[in-house]
Symmetry: C3
Subunit: 474 residues, 3 copies
């Protein structure tokens, strides 16, 4: 049948072909599809909502910020220059869009395709599949809509029924945009919108982060602490966490190459910090410092109640030539095998049984689901498992997660979904996929008489809404 | 529909929703559901059957010995003290039971839930789901039944249709309970019951085992050998294996942190043993000693015909605070990535092609199924693969095992199921799950025209009954 | 129903039981089942086609060359001597065949069973299952057919509708057989048959390869270069690659213990080579040399356009006793955990973004699919992923590959199927399994409304035919 006769998205999408299971999945999904969205971990920009200006053209909106899209195009020989990656003002957005459209077939079978079709259909009313032939139609329709008030950031926030949207922010960020939102008269269903910062201190705790030493100095200036001494450096971090809390922040986020944690004495830590600051540390000492800082962050979380998130295991900027030309975060971060069991032991030894501590673990190494993460989270009271993330927020990735985690950690040591996206327009699509896949998993349990219907409904609601609020203390 | 209208367990539980495959699975299962149970590896206590005294209250029976249960409760913030873990006489078993019942929802989607519902329904006739509301009903019904003769250990053994039940025993155990059983007049279907010891020497071959030095000294006393010299230490072990064999033992069991084996010369081994006994060995030397001892045990197996079982890969007592307060085996053992290919080579180099040698391998690292274990077992005549074990004896875990192992090692390099449990009442449930999941796997092969019906029936019988008898030389 | 009533193979074999998905899979498969076979990577012998002599008896044809078969038999205690492995002229082929037939049940659930049944049925018209009872029938029928002209190598090549068949060849091979084929008057559908060599230099670049030093000397003789100096050694390799190209070769193939690559300066490399040639290199230096040679091979590929294939991760000849008695490639190679991310970085750092470079990666460690290989191939323009290979060319192995790779790398960073076989008669069966399983995967995407019908047909054709031609530059 011709592609033109297809709907771009189907009401039963992602549900299994088996009619018994599909019917159960459909019924469960009907119970949760209307629930508000909680987005506790992501990379949208508070400035969009502070300024509420129209999003620019389709290429700038969809292609430029989304490394899921252009990494695939790049892998097939399309140059990043032709896609105008890293360019502030696109010279020829329609040309970029056409290149993307002509290669849309590359995304067959990927979650990117699912998210995009959802946005194209649900937000822009497009019905024909994107291709070279429909590139201009798409460009024109999307461009036109983006100029309407219904497509301003705040309007979309409301249309998406977002209840909480967390951004990810450097300790060096003034949080002025967050403040501007809180001080504006914008109300969502009668209440202040909850666009909350997340404390992400990598740039001031990872000696290998570009500009680390300048960043630490800047942190000192901002907090009026002498961050070249260990106690004041720690104090500056604690003070900044308080500043984030004052803007509604409930969580920290840590992206380290490994999950190593350490438990140094105060003296050892101070000596190590001295070496780091004096730029006399070698690779092993830098790694030890990162490890110690995770433990320090955990200690501060025990004290101030910020939920801690850890996602180790990415080899950042693997492609040197691309990094040197286009910078960080352009799709060349590659996962590595990751250990949690030995690595987290020093931290857990200190804080693993603390009542007031939550540590949410993410992974880029799926082999740890059943071998390490579920057993750890199924024992330690502080541990919870973040959803399948980054490369793994696919339909199959979500099923692998539930299949390998539930048997040991159950549902209640997990924290619901997070979209982790820079692509604001993909947020509803991503939550939709997660909710559907959780229903698929639950439907299987029900169909195989392993869970009663009423329980499945309760779990579906918990996974879509309740667990995330509880875990992130929202 | 209200939970009260549900049956606690359904006749088609665990079978796939697809009607074609379900029908085949059902038919295969009908062929094997009546076969006797062989339990060649587990942690029940011979003393129960020697003394045949009633099991105590429901909390003592179900909650206290089952770290699957209380590790989940602990992970959600319930204190082990409230559950009276490690307490000899429970002060308030009903209160413990109520805490468990109120949190029964935590087990949704876990195998524990399946095993418990089976026991509640099949043994105690309970029909309503366990919850806070039904906690007292459960407590009362179970308590009452436990006082009847039908619930004495020997009666249950017969009711479960156990044909063999192996325990796991220290070389320092007198095996008096096993002897008492054999000398009693208890007959099962006209024959002596086969409750057999298994030789588990970790406590006298692992220098990191609590009390190792005292244990080795005690071994010397029991065998009248001077266990502070290498040759006599080995002799003491060989003699003790003979003592076990005399009580019906057919297998040894080895729980090591890694699968390392070594092939030292007699002189090197003697010098290493000297260091170990003199407490002058460092961590690497202790690991080397464990490695050498696996090879020594293999050698003795070649000589005395005891089947060798190895299950490496657990980081024992990961939670120091919990270990210091509650001791070993309280649910804080966590799997680690495990290598078999390099680690087993020294042992296989010596004994891998021996006719009279069987080494059954278990794993806590599922990535080794297709990468290492199936290729090894699909080549070496001495190797067989133990069933998915510990964290992986779940319905999905069993399917992952068959899916990843069968293609390379076939069915006949596996050894059927073992329940590995301390929870006696869960034994029938666990075998039931294993038998059903094997039928599910076979049904898929039949439905996809990869196996004929008559073959599937034969394989189902082999997996449920014949392979285990053959592998464990029963 | 009696086995005799079964067809040996069913038209719907391997398709899922669900009727909706099965119908889609069947429809997709109908579109591609008639496409010619491209076999770009395998281990058949050019001499068969050069000489076009009849294949010998069934045992010599099926059992002796196929380590998939005799490794399974060996694992169950059958001696390699009884199977006459390594014997040039079988003394009692009928006896070998009977042993195999009596143990055919061991292959239940394995891909070997699927391939064999296909060959037995499609090529020899056999309808009853192989077993002890039918052993002689099989032996007689197959023996008789092998004596007919229809079963000569060239006739089978045409019957299999092979369009390209690549062999795997040492740089020391004269390629006389390939030349003989090209110079013969054999035409396939009016054109010269494409039986192409592949450049596999392990024997002259891996210092641990048996006879390495003699091989390097021989390479010097064949190319008239002084291969005891670094520049001339490299030149000899480049010249030999040209010789292979002249015989139609389009690809190289590299089987290394790890994926390590290195980027040494010319001086460092020359000094290392000196050590290697002087037999003064230790294990680490040998590994570094292999690593450097992969980078050198990549450089030559950039220059001469030969597609590079890398398959690391096998522990070769794991069973010393068997190796010493029967030699290489007898089924005792065992996979190991393999890293790609750090290992390939030096090579990718140099050539990862080259337009004229294709590097096809294979793995024996499935954990790398989603964690390393798909993210790498989904970014670097030079990288493509080879199909699931060796132990993983099973129906489930193929689904695991598609499931874990597609979400990140899509379909178009993969290269279609290769059969990698020494067993010529299994080639159609292996391609048939691969085509069916790709249709199963695509059918699931269609049934779940994730891919339109017309797209699925296009992808199915690409996976079966177009991608392999493009990737291997055929």
């Amino acid at each position: 049948m011709p592609a033109e006769a297809m709907k771009l998205i189907d009401d039963d999408r992602l549900f299994p072909a088996n009619p018994v299971t599909r019917a159960i999945a459909r019924r469960l999904y009907a119970e949760i599809r209307g629930l508000p969205l909680i987005s506790p971990h992501g990379h949208t920009q508070a400035g969009w909502f502070a300024r509420n200006e129209p999003f620019p053209d389709p290429a700038k909106l969809f292609v430029q910020p989304d490394h899921y899209i252009y990494r695939m195009l790049y892998s097939q020989g399309i140059s990043l220059d032709d896609l105008e990656i890293g360019v502030d003002e696109l010279k020829d957005p329609r040309r970029v869009w056409r290149i993307f459209a002509e290669h849309y077939y590359l995304f067959r079978g990927t979650p990117t395709r699912i998210w995009l079709d959802y946005a194209f259909h649900e937000l822009f009313g497009l019905e024909e599949r994107l291709s070279g032939a429909t590139a201009d139609l798409y460009f024109d329709v999307i461009s036109e809509r983006l100029r309407t008030p219904e497509f301003l950031p705040r309007a979309l926030y409301e249309r998406f029924r977002l209840e909480v949207l967390a951004t990810t922010d450097s300790p060096l960020d003034s949080l002025a945009d967050h403040q501007a939102i809180r001080q504006s008269d914008w109300k969502v269903r009668g209440a202040a919108p909850r666009i909350l910062p997340t404390f992400r201190p990598d740039s001031v705790v990872d000696p290998d982060f570009a500009g680390f030493h300048e960043n630490v100095a800047m942190l000192g200036q901002m907090t009026h602490e002498n961050t070249s001494t260990w106690p004041d450096y720690l104090k500056a971090l604690a003070v900044t966490r308080q500043r984030f809390k004052a803007q509604g922040c409930t969580a920290t986020d840590h992206g380290h190459p490994t999950a190593h944690t350490a438990h140094l004495s105060a003296d050892e830590a101070a000596r190590l910090f001295e070496k780091i600051i004096a730029k006399r540390a070698d690779a092993a000492q830098k790694e030890l410092f990162r490890a110690q800082m995770l433990t320090e962050m955990a200690r501060m979380s025990v004290e101030d109640g910020l939920v801690m998130q850890l996602h180790p295991g990415a080899f950042r900027n693997h492609n040197r030539q691309v990094y040197e030309r286009y910078g960080r975060d352009v799709g060349a971060d590659i996962p590595m095998a990751t250990d949690y069991v030995r690595s987290l032991q020093p931290l857990l030894d200190l804080y693993g049984n603390e009542k007031n501590f939550t540590l949410i673990l993410f992974t880029l190494d799926e082999t740890t689901y059943s071998r390490e993460l579920a057993p750890l989270a199924g024992h330690y009271p502080c541990l919870r498992l973040g959803p399948p993330w980054w490369f793994f927020d696919s339909p199959e990735g979500m099923l692998r997660f539930r299949e390998q985690v539930t048997e040991t950690a159950g549902f209640y040591n997990t924290v619901g979904f997070n979209d982790d996206t820079r692509a604001f327009l993909s947020i509803p699509a991503r939550h939709d996929v997660a909710r559907r896949m959780d229903c698929v998993w639950l439907a299987r349990l029900v169909a195989e008489h392993r869970l009663d219907d009423d329980e499945a409904v309760e779990v579906a609601r918990d996974l879509a809404y309740n667990l995330v609020k509880k875990a992130y203390r929202l």
